[in-house]
Each structure stands twice: as C-alpha cells, then as structure tokens.
Amino acid sequence: MIEAEIYITLKKTVADPQGLTVKHALESLGYKEAEQVRMGKLITIRLNLKNKEEAEGKIDEMCRKLLANPIIEDYSFNIRCLPTDLQ
C-alpha cells in the first residue's frame, strides 16, 4: 500500500482572502510577526499499488484532472510506502 499526501494551494499570483483573514486574527492575538498566511488543502489518498513511480504518475494525473484547478491552484505531493502494520 502506498499513501500520498497532496497539498493544494492557491497560486502566488492569486489573492487568498481566507489566508488574509487568518493573518488579521493572528495579529489581533498579538502575533505581530505573522508576515503572511496562505491557506490550502491537504488530501491523503491510499493506493493499492506497490510501485512508487506508478503511484506518482497516477497522483499527478488525478491532480491535473480533478483535485487541483490549474487556473488558480498549484499542487505538490509526497508519496510513501506504508509499513504493513499501518495498512
């Protein structure tokens, strides 16, 4: 079993009103050092595959087809083989 963690974030050129609001909230709690906040999504997917390269290919395809919208979002992912006792 392989597990993928996929991070989807708004492109840097796209304004992130959620991140901005959270930044203001942090500031009002006294965290003046909070310079920038950007929000995103984390998606985990377990795949019935053994081959890491094959899994990478599939996840990349899923991101392009459905999980991310390339007009406004970027994506990245980590892939790891799950130890048998976690499966």
């Binding site: 708004l10 304004a15 919208n69 007009i71 406004i72």
Partner: protein, 231 residues
C-alpha cells in the same frame, strides 16, 4: 423552442428556471437528471444554481464529470445555446466551456441580495432585447463568485467583447464600491468566443416577475427566445 434544465444532486434553482420558462416564456421545458447520457432535440440547456455535490473540492468541480456533461459539451460545441447561472456558471468554468475560475468572495461571506449589473454587450443572443449599457437589477446568492482570470485572459475577454455583465451602481457606474465579491474587473457574466454559452452569477430566474422585486431577468430569457425564433 425547447428548453432543458439539468438537475445535479444539490441543484436548488431548477424549479425556478423551469417555472420561468413554462409560465413566463410559455415554452416547453424538461428537467434533465444529470445521469442522462444524451441530449436530444433541445434548443437551449440551462445549468441552474445550487450546490452541486455540496460544493465539495471546488464549486462545480465534481458536477463537470457527471454523465450529462459529455453530451452537453458536444451540444455546446455544435453551437447549442447554454446558460449557466451561479453554480451553473461555476460548472461551465470547471468544464472549460468558459475561461477563468471562481474564488471565494473577497469578504468571505455568502452574499444574498439584489445587485445592479450593466449590460456591456447587447449584440449577444442573451441580451438582444436590452438597450445599450442597460442597468439590470438582479439578485445574487453565492459564496464563490469572485471571478478570476489572468491578465492575458482578461485582455482576450475584453478584446472579443465576451464580458456581458459587470457589477455596477444603480446608475451604471463601475467601481470597487459596487463590486460585491471582488470579481476581477467587476465581471458578473461572460460568454464564450462564439457567443452561444453564457455564464452569470446573478439569478435572472429570481427576477422575472415584478412581484419578486424586479422583472429585468426576463429580458435575458426573452432575448434567447427572440434570437431562436428569428433564425
């Protein structure tokens, strides 16, 4: 003229659209469940508002893979008339039938109120009954109506006169103050280059009778009818 109103799980404006077509336009209409795999003998397809698939992942992102979307894309590519309202607009963006994408409203609120929109192009099949620069009073009801397109895309929309409606003041001034959701260039509605697909965030089906506070929305439905009948 035969209309079809597509119903996705989570659509909630299909009955309003159906009512306006049947009762106000007095035209035949059919509800089309999203699992259907064919679209036969329709002149115009309406993608109504609502929360298809609970807005999960991104608005419209899952609905665009519903079985009905394949025949709908074929229908649109052959010049069939398509109008996507609110969530319908979001589905058209996700499916690539219209350019751009939707972000969350700038102030992060769900906004439900009457707004004014300026008709920027009356030479479309959706606006031929409007007068030049006519200001329409039509309500919005959305959380993701902050239209985004990159600079090059915006230039292309402007050059091809694809921007049909912009948010404006009651007098027609276009500025930030009268932009409810942060949409780039106050964009409220656009057409594709060919002009047969319209996407708009405001709800013309909720403003087609004076009893509801405005009947400006019916101009859009009547324009479609006029254009089709004069062909």
């Amino acid at each position: 003229m035969k209309f079809g109103v597509v119903v996705f799980p989570g659509s909630n404006c299909e009955e309003d659209c159906f009512y306006v077509i049947k009762e106000i336009l007095a035209q035949p209409a059919e509800r089309i469940w999203h699992k259907q795999t064919a679209l036969d003998n329709f002149d115009c397809i309406v993608l109504p508002g609502g929360f298809s698939y609970g807005d999960y992942l991104r608005t419209g992102a899952i609905a665009r893979f519903s079985p009905i979307m394949k025949p709908l894309v074929d229908f649109a590519h052959k010049g069939g008339i398509v109008i996507g309202i609110c969530n319908g607009f979001q589905i058209l963006l996700e499916s690539g039938l219209l350019p751009g994408a939707m972000l969350r409203n700038k102030e992060l609120h769900f906004i439900c109120k009457y707004v004014h929109i300026k008709t920027e192009n009356i030479n479309t099949l959706f606006t031929n009954l409007c007068s030049s620069s006519q200001v329409l009073k039509i309500p919005i009801a959305h959380n993701e109506g902050n239209y985004y397109i990159d600079e090059q895309g915006l230039k292309s929309l402007e050059k091809n006169r694809q921007i049909v409606f912009r948010y404006c003041s009651p007098k027609g001034e276009i500025n930030k103050e009268f932009n409810p959701n942060g949409a780039i260039a106050n964009i409220a509605g656009i057409v594709n280059k060919e002009g047969n697909i319209l996407g708009m965030m405001p709800h013309p089906e909720r403003s087609s009778e004076i009893e509801l506070g405005s009947e400006d929305g019916r101009l859009i439905f009547k324009s479609i009818l006029k254009w089709t009948e004069s062909k």
